[in-house]
């Protein structure tokens, strides 16, 4: 399988000197045209990775041995180069459409802008593409929804708009940062289904960042488990039941099963020792 991204020893540090804090430590992985899940609790650094890949962390220092995207060295890439890459080649779906959409701009125009940024002077074409994408994310009556403002649409619709916006320039890699966490449970499956279909039919490489292990387990091909900024385990989604690291096993044991035994679930343990730098876990 073609490798889209190759990341080796990615680290993100905030601050300098004595007060420096490492949000991400020596994370390595590769991504092909497949789905990679990154699971962790708050503070594990999972969301930071997504932004680091797009170099959207102005206050942090990003270092890596390698951060390669289809032949381009992202670490050394200039801001000009990154402007071309963001959106058009690598995109990111944010968590909550209540906040991630511009409140004073019509949603259709926001989608169209995502296209127009990378195709100069194609105003009408951008509008057409936006309407096409609105249909692709199964929004009925795209003409009407195009003209709505973010506060006039529901959460599920908003997230579909976000998906449309991030897919319209036809990127190769999409980072989905907690794409369904802000949605009602009933709507989640629908939105995920739409994302699933689109990613599959376009052969897009997907990095799914989530705190929901179950979700990632069912949606992704491979999974990275993160704790305190490090990858503590990496394995195919199907083999999660046979995870070896104690933290992963703890996460799995904490999931309730319908039809499972009635004993109290084990409390998730967090060991200090897991914070110490681990040998490289290759994924």
């Amino acid at each position: 399988m073609e490798t889209l991204m190759d990341v080796r020893n990615l680290s993100v540090t905030y601050g300098r000197g004595a007060g420096a804090m490492q949000a991400v430590r020596n994370v390595s992985f590769t991504l092909g045209r497949e789905r990679l899940g990154i699971v962790g609790e708050s503070g594990s650094g999972k969301s930071t990775i997504g932004r680091a890949l797009l170099k959207l962390l102005p206050t942090a220092t990003i270092t890596a041995d390698r951060m390669d995207f289809m032949g381009t060295d992202l670490i050394r890439a200039s801001e000009r180069r990154m402007l071309d890459i963001r959106g058009a080649r690598i995109s990111m779906i944010l968590q909550d459409p209540k906040f991630s959409l511009n409140p004073v701009q019509r949603v259709g125009d926001q989608i169209a802008e995502a296209y127009a940024v990378h195709h100069r002077g194609a105003r009408r074409e951008a509008r057409e593409k936006a309407l096409e994408m609105l249909e692709a994310v199964q929004i009925r009556d795209p003409e009407r929804v195009y003209r709505l403002y973010p506060h006039e649409i529901s959460g599920g619709m908003g997230q579909r708009v976000m998906i449309a916006m991030m897919l319209v320039p036809e990127p190769e890699v999409i980072i989905a940062d907690e794409p369904t966490s802000a949605l009602d449970v009933t709507v989640r499956m629908k939105v995920l289904g739409i994302l699933d279909a689109l990613v599959r039919e376009r052969g897009i490489g997907l990095i799914m960042i989530s705190h929901d292990l179950n979700l990632v387990r069912n949606f992704c091909d491979r999974v990275l488990i993160m704790y305190a900024g490090q990858v503590v385990e990496a394995l195919p989604a199907g083999e999660l039941a046979h995870a070896r690291h104690d933290y992963t096993r703890g996460l799995i044991a904490a999931q309730p099963h319908i039809g499972g035994d009635r004993a109290p679930l084990a409390v998730l343990r967090r060991e200090e020792s897991w914070k110490r730098p681990l040998a490289e876990v290759q994924a």
């Binding site: 797009l54 801001e79 963001r86 058009a88 991630s100 511009n102 802008e113 320039p169």
Partner: protein, 340 residues
Amino acid sequence: MRLTSAGLLAFARQAGTILVTLLGLLVLTFAIGRLMPVDPVRAIVGEEADPATYQQVYEELGMDRPVYVQFARYLGDTLRGDFGTSLRTGQPVAEDIAAVMPATIELATFAILLGAGLGIPLGVWAAVRKNQPTDHVVRVVTLLGHSMPIFWTGMIGLIVFYAWLGWVGGGGRVSDFYDGMVDPVTGFLLIDSAIAGDWDVFWDALNHLILPASILGLASLAYITRMTRSFMLDQLNQEYITTARVKGLSFGRTIWGHAFANIRVQLVTIVALAYGGLLEGAVLIETVFSWPGFGQYMTNNMLTGDMNAVMTCVLLVGVIFIALNLLSDLLYKVFDPRTR
């Protein structure tokens, strides 16, 4: 905006509030007028008038009637547009005010153009460079501008830029040489001289306008910059800014295209309020620069105790302020899609 019963009710309630405020304003101005330590009868009849004449004028003015009757009379007069005659000039107050207003409007408009034209970009710049040296400089400058007695700044300006450097004209709207040369068509010297094609007067007027307008502008700049910075910082923390960057928009386009679009309405409100605040500064600046505008007119009336004029001036200022507040509320409702 659709015409719903709820909408009409809200409108009616707001209209009611404004009417009550206006009424209160009228009570206030009436009280001020009555409290003034100047005898309006004496001012009309003069010192040597005999008791009979005094009594006659006293009754004419309605001073023998109870207070609420006098107030009703004042109310009636005001609603009809009769603001009385100035005790000082003998002209109807309304005419006097109309004569001096353009000078102040010219001054205030220039000042707000400077204040907003410089203040908004400065505020955006400071927000984008938060906590860096630029930001600190801007904050210090706005703090100083906020703490300076504006009349003092005007005077220092005159000393430095007029007396020492000779870069600008001195007091007044034009040099004595050009005084009265141009026909007052609009009352705005710059426009009038341009219409007349008299460019010497135009440049002279501009020369005299630039310093007081700049000083006034500085005062509003402090406020506008600070508010713009604050609004901008609020926006920069929002998620949709990240979305814009993710789409591949440059930082500049994100700031001006997205963040700025979200503060536009708030900025209009701020500028409207700042414009009103300029009225206060104008009172002081006009005195310093001998600028024959509304501010100086009002001050003179207060010093001489010209009752009708003072009451009308105070009323006018109050009405302007209420109108500006109303305008900003309205602009907010019209331009922010979230409130529709």
